[in-house]
């Protein structure tokens, strides 16, 4: 049996292949450049691969980025946990403990919080963090990212909790549970999809942040990987191979998270909570 491929369909595939090619080109270029020696970078085009590949650039990049990656992991993990847990608690309160007319009004305000541009709050942010004695510290970054993340995590959780039938919470109320007990024994156990989605979103966002990192840190002791990565480019020479190797190393954690938890991400976005 031969399947007939229509003309319009083949055009569509050609277009998609072309688009995929365009999207993947920079990554391809990063991979080829990172496996070149400094001379090869100068002598070949960015997309030409070399054989045999050199891994010297990776060694140098990794030794430079080791400390910043540990910094990044530290504040990203904690800020992700804090902002997700607080978002979940706030979402539960908004969706299930107060009237939905009131919570919808509050959600509009919270949505504004999601859209506050980083640039607009930099000066007050630096002053607050400095006055708290948290400038150039990991806790300073954790506090900043947690606070900045709460609106979006609250929004995600509130919408998820709206989907949970009110009757479930009411049943627990009549069964004798107080709000905290309802949260811990009824709502929390069925929140896994929302936790996964929100945590991934927060992890990727916080990990990839550059601006907060650059204004809130000075030396190596708290500098995030993204900031160090930008600093790999020297003032006079740009070692493209080292920079590309560094970029790929810094991209690894988010890539790993996406591969490991991506299936939950799709499920979390699509499942309507508890249709039974």
């Amino acid at each position: 049996m031969k399947k007939k491929v229509s003309f319009s369909r083949s055009i569509m595939y050609l277009l998609l292949i072309f688009l995929a090619f365009v999207y993947l080109l920079p990554i391809w270029s990063a991979i080829t450049t990172s496996t070149k020696s400094t001379e090869q970078v100068a002598l070949t085009t960015p997309v030409t691969p070399v054989f045999p590949p050199h891994f010297e650039a990776y060694r140098i990049a990794f030794s430079e980025l080791k400390r910043p990656i540990i910094n990044s992991l530290a504040f990203t993990v904690f800020a992700t946990i804090f902002s997700t847990v607080l978002g979940s608690l706030a979402g539960f309160a908004l969706a299930k403990l107060i009237r939905s007319t009131t919570s919808k009004k509050l959600l509009v305000l919270i949505t504004f919080g999601v859209f506050i541009p980083y640039q607009a709050i930099l000066i007050p942010l630096v002053r607050i963090i400095s006055s708290l004695g948290l400038y150039n510290t990991i806790p300073g970054l954790i506090l900043t990212h947690t606070a900045y993340g709460i609106p979006i995590t609250t929004l995600l959780f509130t919408n998820y909790y709206y989907e949970i039938p009110d009757e479930l919470v009411e049943a627990a109320k009549v069964d004798g549970a107080n709000p905290l007990k309802i949260y811990t024994s009824v709502v929390l156990p069925i929140s896994k999809p929302a936790f996964v989605v929100t945590a991934i979103y927060q992890f990727v966002n916080i990990w990839n942040d550059y601006l907060f990192g650059v204004v809130l840190t000075r030396g190596e002791e708290a500098m995030p990987a993204t900031v160090k990565l930008a600093n790999l480019k020297g003032s006079f020479v740009a070692n493209w191979n080292i920079q590309m190797a560094g970029a790929l190393i810094v991209a690894l954690p988010t890539l790993f998270i996406m591969i490991a938890l991506g299936k939950y991400l799709i499920r979390g976005y699509t499942t309507g909570a508890l249709k039974e």
Binding site: P165, E167, L168, E170, A171, A172, K173, V174, D175, G176, A177, N178, K181, S185, V186, P189, I190, L274, E276
Partner: protein, 371 residues
């Protein structure tokens, strides 16, 4: 166990009056059904008793304890009211096993583990859930979920059971079975039960008493026989009974007849007197008669009896055990319920008798029943 008392209870959402001045007393151990069409306020009433809604005005007592009185600033939260509720959707905790679902109310109250285990097993035994204790709700059929929801309610041995259309998600056959089981269970446990439904058959078969509610207003409270045979007004008369009661616009004449326009029926003397006492002679009134009170006349009855009407058969609905017959005389249509043995056929002419003893007369302006 306890009685439940509602005194002048109102519930207003925005500018929608869901419950208007409800006064109702449910006796200790009684099975009270709140019956009415959807949106009539019956579920809101139940939720106010549970403590899931606060009344806008009025007082609610469970036993001798005042649990809600907005004017007096009293509101006891649901967890302290000692009531158990069965929801329409069952609201089982999806992540917990059947065992944990049933045990939940006791765990919350920190009952010792051993006692919890013993009571869960007792309840499971009573409801036939023993083999299902390890399953999750999603692995159960509708009827089994229903029983788990009941189990979660009865394990507490609460003062009052509140049930919000608990059978409406079951298929017809299972519903009939659960109806009987639920009634039996309530008798066995003797717990005061308030049961909300829009299904008049459930109300008639299960309730010790029925409270008929429409548009937030209590229409009538009484035993199933009372609301069926002595409906207080047009709404109750039309809502209870299937097929519903026939209604006719008629006038009562000076000489003791009911004038249908197409035909006349002779009233009984005491009926006529009653109507004369309330001053409805020569007035337009509403006459109601149930389909089963319209009989097919035998040939002797046609000759000897009054109140025989010659009608044409429009449609015959054969239900096997009985026949629902749609009849017409001139411009007046009505429905009769005939025995299965009846030979009536569509488009046939037939003589029928209106059982004059069983008719109801309603005042058109007040909608209230005269008899």
């Amino acid at each position: 166990m306890a009685s439940v008392r509602l005194e002048g209870v109102w519930k207003i959402f925005g500018n929608f009056e869901a419950v208007k001045n409800l006064n109702l007393k449910i006796k200790d151990g009684e099975f009270m059904v709140l019956l009415g069409p959807s949106g009539c306020g019956k579920t809101t009433t139940l939720r106010m008793i549970a403590g899931l809604e606060e009344p806008t005005r009025g007082r609610i007592y469970i036993g001798d304890r005042l649990v809600a009185d907005p004017e007096g600033g009293v509101f006891v939260p649901p967890k302290d009211r000692d009531v158990a509720m069965v929801f329409q959707s069952y609201a089982l905790y999806p992540h917990m096993s059947v065992y944990d679902n049933i045990a939940f109310p006791l765990k919350i109250r920190k009952v010792p583990k051993q006692e919890i285990d013993q009571r869960v097993r007792e309840v499971a035994e009573l409801l036939g859930l023993t083999d299902l204790l390890k399953r999750k709700p999603r692995e159960l059929s509708g009827g089994q979920r229903q029983r788990v929801a009941l189990g979660r309610a009865i394990i507490r041995r609460p003062q009052v059971f509140l049930m919000d259309e608990p059978l409406s998600n079951l298929d017809a056959k299972l519903r009939v079975k659960m109806r009987a089981e639920l009634k039996k269970l309530q008798r066995q446990l003797g717990v005061t039960t308030i049961y909300v439904t829009h299904d008049q058959v459930e109300a008639m078969t299960m309730g010790d008493r029925i409270a008929v509610i429409n548009a937030g207003v209590l229409q009538q409270v009484g035993s199933p026989d009372e609301v069926y045979n002595k409906p207080a007004n047009v709404f109750v008369a039309g809502f209870i009974g299937s097929p519903p009661m026939n209604f006719f616009n008629v006038t009562i004449t000076e000489d003791g007849f009911v004038d249908f326009g197409e035909f006349k029926l002779k009233l009984l003397p005491d009926q006529f007197e009653l109507l004369r006492d309330v001053g409805l002679i020569d007035k337009d009134v509403l006459l109601g008669i149930r389909p089963e009170d319209i009989y097919e006349a035998t040939s002797t009855q046609v000759k000897t009896q009054e109140n025989v009407i010659h009608a044409k058969v429009d449609i015959v609905e054969n239900l096997g055990g009985e026949k629902i017959v749609h009849l017409r005389t001139g411009g007046v249509s009505f429905v009769g319920k005939f025995p299965a043995e009846s030979f009536v056929k569509e488009n046939q002419e037939v003589d029928v008798i209106f059982d004059i003893k069983k008719i109801h007369i309603f005042d058109k302006t007040t909608q209230r029943a005269i008899f």
